[in-house]
Symmetry: C2
Subunit: 388 residues, 2 copies
């Protein structure tokens, strides 16, 4: 096991009606804060009544609220700059995100941009490291990205989708009320399920120092998400299924499943190149196409790891040869994605002809991608060709 | 799933040599602190070189150190009062525990006693709730109690062993270096393994609202602790096995495995009455006797929960009747304890005649014990009689 340092100081507030209590949680967790900025996306947060309830809760707790809507999926740096200007002119002391990963990431980028003299993109192109940030709190309305517990933030600039990660971006309070997920479109449910699974898988396969604890915890979480994800295909207002998916998906990206070993992130790198090329691609759907192709290409780098995956996640008996076992696991994983109505081929993802060479260049042109099998441009081309 | 609020803000520093870095972690996590009190147990921390290395690390980080040794197993309130006086006269601002659960609990009790005007026992007999506490940090030398991540503290007063729990007792920084466990006596290894398993089991069986995520994560952790605990019986200096046991055992008591459902703690209540009666009883050994007897007595209250335990923790196929499956699981659990050289009967625990009625009265006389099956005095008597 590798040495590590880990602190997950998010205050998680979980359950029915909890979004109505956010104001009191903010004033307790961040004493002294008087004015906050609420960031949200489209009109659904307003129409559903979630945003008004959140604002009311904050005002009842004595907080002044400045609201800024309009975050779009794959949020762009221009909008973040607008939010930073807004936050400065309103002199807010805390950013509260009401939404999913895109809204939370916009809040995080704003939070680190406000106290910084330069341009916020500096943090994403490696020019600067954030030294300070406003505190961020969240009310989750789409479980998928895990951003409500993570230190990560991803922003798009033109066709470049880039991430940053630093402890001071970890939200102080995150509210998860599974009831808020009942009205999500089915496509977003499925994309969310594979997104959270991918956060575990990006950590699971590189657990090559053989940390049994994080392996076993990760396998258990994958099984729980799959079991309950399928329940949501039957009934979108199944509270308990949403509670399982929401809880597991939130822990999926807080670092727990990566303790003591390396992480990979090649599939995310490839998907970011895909949705950077065409921002109508939904991140989770892109992952559903990339991950099975990645698995089929990279498993020979460490067959033992994939045999364990086959046995522990899919209950495949190891009474056949290694390759058969592994291919059966990949087939079962792909079949699960199909049951979730997810695309598993590029041709199902987009009607446009995917410029494979260009995507591969964007993903791995600047250096090798991932750790399970470090991928160069030719490797990514092969994976995307397999995904056709 | 029940609503819950959860925040585990410990900074966990894990791995080889990490105890030599504690000073820098303290000054970063608790800026402004200038003088600390180091609490430890017997001479082994000095002889092994751990204490001098820790003190040196703190002094190099610019911290003044006042050291207080002499904590004994099942630490008593008199010694805690002594520590509080010492901390006040030395005007320390933080308590650093170097040891196992007894040392950490002494540190926690001292930390909440220092700013309190009344007697520290008030917090354990229900007379007062702590409103403030000095920050606590830990360097773990015995993995077992999970106190390095937990909000709990247990102290003995005469024959009464009582606990308290409050968020402000959660350590700020906890260092776990598995190398420090290589010199533990075998008896302490085994007692530690069942102690950490018990922290999961006390949460696992009461998961009756059926939270799949915490059930599955708990089962995975139990399997990991059992697999690696047995490895330690073969080789006490197996770093990786210790890393697994140390990591799983530390998460066992931080609240993670109890998310979304009730907890039990009946076995701890009975064991505390036992080691309150005879403080030569090692907590883990007492648990090894109590838990199988508790299982045999309570399972009819929710057989489905025990069938899941049988299937997921011991891989027992559910192709036989419920009772046979459950009894087989309890037999396998007991066999594991025996492989760990633990006592599983009162007669193996102590040569003295155990006053069963008196112990049962101490455990459940003040009100029913536990939640899986709330136990009265007669129930506890029956369990202890079964454990003879």
């Amino acid at each position: 096991m590798n040495n590590f340092t880990y602190c997950n100081a998010v205050e998680l507030v979980f359950g029915r009606n909890t979004h109505r209590e956010i104001g009191a949680h903010i004033t307790r967790a961040c004493p002294g804060v008087k004015k906050i900025m609420v960031v949200y996306g489209g009109g659904s947060a307003v129409k559903s009544g979630v945003l008004p309830a959140v604002v009311q809760s904050c005002e009842q707790a004595g907080l002044a609220v400045a609201a800024k809507g309009g975050v779009r999926p794959n949020p762009g740096v221009e909008f973040v700059r607008e939010c930073i200007d807004f936050a400065r002119s309103e002199q807010v002391e805390l950013i509260l995100a009401v939404g999913g990963g895109s809204v939370i990431d916009t809040a995080k980028a704003t939070a680190m941009g406000v106290p910084y003299e330069g341009d916020v993109w500096d943090f994403f192109c490696g020019k600067a490291q954030p030294q300070a940030a406003l505190p961020v709190c969240t009310v989750l309305t789409i479980p998928a990205a895990g951003s409500e517990q993570s230190i990560r933030v991803v922003i798009t600039n033109g066709s470049v989708k880039a991430g940053a990660g630093v402890g001071l971006l970890r939200p102080r309070v995150s509210v998860i009320n599974p009831e808020l997920f009942f009205t999500l479109p089915q496509r977003q449910v499925s994309a969310g399920v594979i997104d959270m699974m991918s956060h575990i898988l990006e950590r699971y396969f590189t657990n090559t120092t053989g940390v049994d604890f994080t392996s076993s915890e990760a396998e258990a979480a994958l099984r729980v998400i799959m079991r309950n994800g399928l329940k949501l295909m039957e009934r979108i207002d199944d509270y308990d299924a949403w509670a399982e998916v929401g809880l597991a998906g939130s822990f999926a990206h807080n670092g727990f499943f990566g303790l003591g070993h390396e992480e990979d992130w090649a599939c995310h790198g490839i998907e970011h190149a895909l949705s950077g090329w065409d921002d109508s691609i939904i991140h989770g759907e892109g992952l559903a196409v990339v991950i099975p192709a990645w698995m089929s290409y990279v498993w020979p780098a460490n067959p033992g790891r994939f045999v364990r995956f086959a046995r522990e996640v899919f209950g495949i008996a190891a009474d056949q040869d290694e390759e058969t076992t592994i291919k059966l696991a990949i087939a079962k994983f792909t079949a699960f994605l199909q049951q979730m109505n997810l695309p598993t081929k590029l041709s199902q993802l987009t009607e446009r002809e995917v410029p494979i060479r260009e995507i591969a260049q964007a993903a791995a042109g600047a250096g090798k991608l991932g750790h399970f099998k470090p991928l160069d441009v030719a490797d990514v081309e092969a994976i995307l060709t397999h995904a056709r």
